[in-house]
Structures are given as structure tokens and as C-alpha cells.
Symmetry: C2
Subunit: 323 residues, 2 copies
């Protein structure tokens, strides 16, 4: 929040109030097990860890129905990806998964049944206005948002603790779901969920980061060489020539390397500011900066990678318990 990575919210006051007064509230988020975990996925986990340190009750949904319906992946594959790419990395990053309410959409009778109930409170016109559905839209794609909203709202059902403030940390592209969830919450007598919006990371080559295009993102499973190569090829805010860079300086605000430093690697604001200054004043070249950032990134990733190997069996255990 301090750096504007989390830059927006809806109704977060409700959560702050609950935190200050020691009243119950829930944190709800999910992962879609359709591809490898990358740095962009880490931001929500950082938020979860922050909330967990403050004693928050956390619900973590594996959106395997989404991966199956929208991406056509078979259940065995979504199960594997959930454990090997996400949950084991979450543990390695420091999230205490045992303290989270972990569940898989496809195994949750409550979520599916509540989705069908919620779906009697919203008509096709409203869904079309939010999602742009047309006659070509598949029936399950039209219905899927209700499962998503059910994920968010079911934590307020009596058996999960009853109506209470809930915050959903998400990328800003997820806002339509949140608006639908807020509308439906009021229609069924629940508290409209709050949300926190973080910026979406730029792709390494300057476009959108996507786990289906591995060259656009640093993956947690990348080898050292892959990390080196990807950062070396990354789009920066630098000038075309060394001469111009020395004279005109670079632009950290356009630079994906600087973004990685700001979002993930430099905790100290002064240190971050001095990197930005050095760049803007042309005192540092992109190659130099990439080399030092690569080293920081590898230093960060190495223990996570080792931790993930150790966390794998724990993650499998928790998943089996969740089924």
C-alpha cells in the first residue's frame, strides 16, 4: 500500500474497523490451477501472509472447476498443478496453510449448491452487462461467475461462521466479479464483501504477464539459467545506447526490472529510491542493473525452491485432508 502496489479498494474501512475492534472478519482468495505459478501470483500470497500475521481467518479456494471449464484441463491435472505449482510454493513463501480453510471448488457441495441458489437472484441481462456474454457464450461459461461469487460469499453461511465482513485481495482485473458478489450479497442478506486491488505486473517483454506464455513471467519453477536469460531479455526503461542512457537517464516507471525490485525484492524504501535515482540520472546502465537484480532474484528464489521441495508432502497431506 505504501508503494501503491495495492492501489485501490472497495469498503476496506469495514475490515479495518473489524481489525481495530477485534471483531470477526474473513479473508477469501483463490488460485486457478491451470499453469505454472509466477511472480505475479505472489502478490496475493504476500497479502495473505500479512493478514495471517494479524490473526485473520483465511479461506483459500482452489478454482479447479474454473480451470476445467474455462481451460479444459482434466481433474487429475488440476489436482497436480494445485499441489506442485501453488500450494507447495505458498508454504515455502511462509503462508501457514494448516491455519487456512483450504478447499477445492469441485469437492465443495456447499459452494456448488449455493451457486445454484445465488443464480436464482441474477438474470442473463445483468451477467451480459458485466461479462459481455452473447448467444455464442457457452452455458457453463455463463454460469461460472455464480460459482466464483459462491466462493466469495459462502464463507458467510452459518456453517462457516455466519455473516461478517470479508475481504478479497485480487488483481484489478477481477473487479467485475466483486461487483457482482456485492450486489448478490445484499440480495441474500449477507455483508457485501470488501476488496483490495493490486496492480498487475507487466510482462517481461512489455506486454501482459501470463502463465500460459512462460517467456512473459518469472516462474517459480524456472532454473537459474532461465531466470538469468529471462531477466537479460527483459523490457526496461533504458535508452537505446549507453551514450543516451548516460546523458538522458532511464525511466524506472516503464521498467519491468525495476518493478520486480519494487514489488518483490527491495524491502527498504530508501534503497529502492536510490536505484530509481541512479537510473534516472544515467549513473547506472541496464546491463549492470539486470545483473544485480538477477542476483537478488536468484537469492530470493533459491530458498523458496528448497522450501517447496520440503513442502510438497505437507501440501499433498493437506489436500488429501481437504477432499
Amino acid at each position: 500500500m505504501r508503494r501503491g502496489v495495492i492501489f485501490g479498494h472497495r469498503d476496506f474501512e469495514r475490515i479495518l474497523e473489524a481489525m481495530e475492534r477485534g471483531q470477526p472478519y474473513a479473508v477469501m482468495t483463490g488460485l486457478m490451477p491451470s499453469g505454472p505459478m509466477h511472480l505475479g501470483h505472489k502478490m496475493v500470497i504476500d497479502e495473505l501472509i500479512w493478514f495471517q500475521k494479524r490473526g485473520a481467518e483465511i479461506f483459500l479456494c482452489v478454482a479447479d472447476i474454473e480451470a476445467q471449464i474455462m481451460r479444459g484441463l482434466p481433474p487429475q491435472e488440476t489436482d497436480r498443478i494445485a499441489v506442485e505449482e501453488y500450494l507447495s510454493n505458498y508454504i515455502a513463501l511462509g503462508l501457514d496453510l494448516e491455519k487456512c480453510h483450504l478447499y477445492f471448488q469441485s469437492r465443495s457441495k456447499v459452494v456448488k449448491d449455493f451457486a445454484l441458489k445465488l443464480g436464482t437472484h441474477v438474470n442473463f441481462s445483468e451477467l451480459r452487462a458485466i461479462y459481455g456474454f452473447s448467444g455464442e457464450s457457452k452455458a457453463s461459461h455463463i454460469f461460472y461467475p455464480l460459482i466464483d461469487v459462491s466462493d466469495i460469499l459462502h464463507v458467510q453461511l452459518q456453517e462457516f461462521g455466519g455473516p461478517r465482513p470479508t475481504v478479497v485481495p485480487v488483481g484489478v482485473d477481477q473487479d467485475p466479479h466483486l461487483r457482482l458478489a456485492r450486489d448478490l450479497a445484499t440480495r441474500v442478506g449477507l455483508v457485501p464483501p470488501s476488496s483490495l486491488y493490486h496492480r498487475l505486473m507487466k510482462g517481461l517483454l512489455g506486454e501482459k504477464m501470463s502463465s500460459s506464455r512462460p517467456e512473459t513471467a518469472i516462474l517459480f519453477r524456472d532454473s537459474e539459467d532461465e531466470v538469468r536469460r529471462k531477466l537479460w531479455n527483459a523490457f526496461t526503461g533504458g535508452q537505446p545506447t549507453e551514450k543516451e542512457q548516460r546523458e538522458l537517464g532511464g525511466d524506472p516507471s516503464k521498467c519491468v526490472v525495476f518493478e520486480i525490485l519494487a514489488y518483490h525484492l527491495l524491502e527498504d524504501d530508501n534503497e529502492l529510491a536510490s536505484v530509481a535515482e541512479a537510473c534516472k540520472e544515467g549513473r547506472i546502465l541496464c546491463g549492470e542493473c539486470k545483473r544485480s537484480t538477477t542476483q537478488k532474484l536468484l537469492d530470493f528464489l533459491a530458498p523458496v525452491k528448497r522450501g517447496r521441495e520440503k513442502a510438497l508432502s505437507k501440501a499433498r497431506e493437506l489436500v488429501t485432508a481437504a477432499f
Copy 2:
């Protein structure tokens, strides 16, 4: 079939062929637990008993999601209605429920998951063309037909015996579902289900029979007095006066009392034909006919009622086992 009560089909040859060759086939049908069971519901059960005598494998679905989503009934109520109104009467009518694959939609993970998968193979335009959906249609009502189709097709999944001919005995009003099920079957590599269509019984007062308007139907839970009163008030094919009836004769084809005899009470075709003749020739008056039909109906209902009381605990047991 002999009397034209079952008057149409799609692809029933496929089932006849399987029966003749001793090859596997399935019978699939369902009940919606939203109101009391009436005589109109008995026709499918007669068909199931016929198939069961021939060794057919029968799948029986309690469409409780439909009752909950379309009629807004709570789950406890749909559970109660399923047992007390339907399953216990099925046993009393002679269906061996223990030999059926009995399940509740809401408890079937397979049916819900397969519905979501099937829903990726049909778009909104197709559903609109079949069901007349508009922008006002609720999301769950748009999605519900996929659950219905999943009920019909899931019996062909590997875990339930694999692809094979399946016949669905239904009222003719259910044909749209069957057409959708047949289209979707071919899209997912299953055998298009066959169907048998029976006529819908007329309502006692001449309009549509409906379990939500108890005066239109003979209910299995009606007292003797209610049965007497309902039949006495029933719409017939008789003339306004005794004189006209004696001279012109009545019209059994318009008569709900004659329909009850034909569909449920007179096994012997000659006996049925002589009632029709007597009516047409004015040799019998409506009052007379109603009295004798009432007696036949009470004689039929009494043992079913006693059997139902005995069958209640068995039905509860089977339902508990099915959960």
C-alpha cells in the same frame, strides 16, 4: 402401448434390439419432489415396473435441485417429499427400489460436475431456441437443463457402465430436454438416449393436471372421501341431461373418468370396450359410471396406501444409503 397411452418414441428400436439380443441398456427417469404424488405420476412407474420385470437396469433420480431452484423449496422439504410422497408409494406400487440406482441430484458430485462439462458444449442461442430464455431468465434457470441432461447421460460414463442405449420414459412435455440430451450425447461421444412418450392425463376439471392444484388430480394421499368428492365433480363426456344422454350417448374420449379406467383401472381390453360402448349408446349415465369407477379406484388405492405405510421405513433406509 396397446391402448396408445404410450403413443410415441424416439429411437426405441435401439432398446428393443438390446432387449432381444440380451445386450446391456439402461432405463433412466426422475421425479421432482415439489408436491404430492398423483395418478399422473403413476404412469412412469408402471413403465419402470414393466422394464424391471424384464431385468432392466434402472436409474432413478430425485430431481431435488430442480424443486429447490425452480420452486424455491428448502432441502429438508424436498427430502421429506421425496420419501413420503414418491419413493414409499413407488415401493407400494410394486417397484423394487433396492434394485434401482437411486440418487439425489443435490448429492451427486458426478451429475453436477458432468453438467458443467456438458455446458461447455452448448451455447446460449441453442438453449434460448429450445426453452425460450430471455434477458429476464435467471442464471440458474438457464443452467438447469444441463443438470437434467447430465442426469440422463451420466449413466453412460465409465463408472456407471459406459456408453450404452438408454431409454427415458417421460410425458410428452419433456421432449425438449430429450432433444437437447440427444444433441449433447453425440457431441461428447455417448449414445443418444431413446425416449418413450406417454400422454399427459387430463385434469379432473378438464384442464391440465397439476400437483400444485390438488383439486385437478387424484392424489395418493387423498382420503376416501376426497377421492369420492373429486370423482363426483369430475368433468365427463356426458350430456347435460339424462334425456340427452339416453338419446345421444356420451363421449368417452373427452371423459376424465373413462381416462382413469383406461390408464389405471381396467386391465381387460374387452371390459374397457364394453364401458365405452355402453357410454356411447347412452346405456349408462355419468353418475352410475362415476360410482362404479370410484369403487374400483378406492379398491386400487387402499392396498397401495397400506403398502406405503409399511414401505416408509424401507424408503428412508434406501435414501440414507443413497446419501
